[in-house]
Symmetry: C2
């Protein structure tokens, strides 16, 4: 059985959506996904906003409130019928996220065994045939094929097969 590893933030978890919602409401901004094409929030936010934004990733509460990407639950569940599915997230960059990320996965993807969750940093440690991720930095040394899940920041990337939605993931694999 082939194995698919799936990233969390911007792939199954709508981290940017929650991020923008909080940022716009708390600082009275109107930053949109469209303004972020090819860029990260830090590159377009006014410098005076950065200290406030940085704090988001230092609280467990931020991670627990993130929504699920549209269609992700159904598609991942269907994938488990034909593939071994693992969730691989670079949680080591943000240790405060360990507990809320674990709880989030148990809540929103209860059909996945926790033995298939991987909290790592350098994803070249992942032994899988495919890695669905929004960050190309994980693809260079990955032993399988990297599949790029579209996020505003990666819109100009052309080196990898791309999926824009969970329907497209389903079409690719099922």
């Amino acid at each position: 059985m082939q194995r698919i590893a799936i990233d969390m933030d911007e792939v199954i978890a709508d981290t940017l959506g929650h991020y923008l919602e909080r940022y716009n409401s708390e600082l009275g901004r109107n930053l949109t996904r469209e303004a972020l094409l090819g860029k990260r929030v830090m590159e377009v936010a006014p410098p005076e906003d950065v200290p406030h934004i940085m704090k988001y990733f230092q609280t467990a509460e931020f991670f627990s409130k993130i929504g699920v990407m549209p269609g992700a639950q159904e598609a991942v569940r269907d994938l488990t019928g034909q593939y071994e599915v693992f969730i691989a997230t670079a949680a080591m960059e943000v240790p405060v996220s360990f507990a809320p990320k674990y709880e989030w996965l148990k809540e929103h993807f209860p059909f996945l065994p926790s033995s298939h969750f991987v909290f790592c940093g350098d994803k070249s440690i992942i032994n899988a045939d495919y890695l669905i991720d929004d960050s190309v930095k994980h693809f260079g040394r990955f032993r399988g094929e990297g599949i790029l899940f579209t996020a505003p920041h990666n819109i100009h990337e052309t080196r990898y097969r791309r999926v824009n939605t969970w329907d497209e993931v389903r079409d690719m694999f099922l």
Copy 2:
């Protein structure tokens, strides 16, 4: 560069030592490593002790107080000169261990980047050439070679290359 993945409990962390020390002192027992040859603590402890022991693994404090295996720090540091070294621990079985395990690694193995820490469950997800572990259950589907680190419970296992100490790990790899 070849890659070595190294387990935590009973390999770089003397979890059993801390476990026995607490158990013997708190319940007035005298359980030794010798009595555990080929067995797990739960198999030899009196049934009335089990609820007390089970609680150890439900507290973060338990994990933070574990000592380092003799020679592990020096040997792992030396291995990093010739290998990519990752730490791979089945932390998903005990979510309360995430934070203390991360802190423990940062404290005792500060020369390893946290991007090389992996908290997982099923270690077949680890992409490495070698896995040094005390549990053979992780070797069956591991893509590299499993190297068994001796612990009392695995003493009768004969299917894998075995190392008894960190000096022996050094001799094998360097």
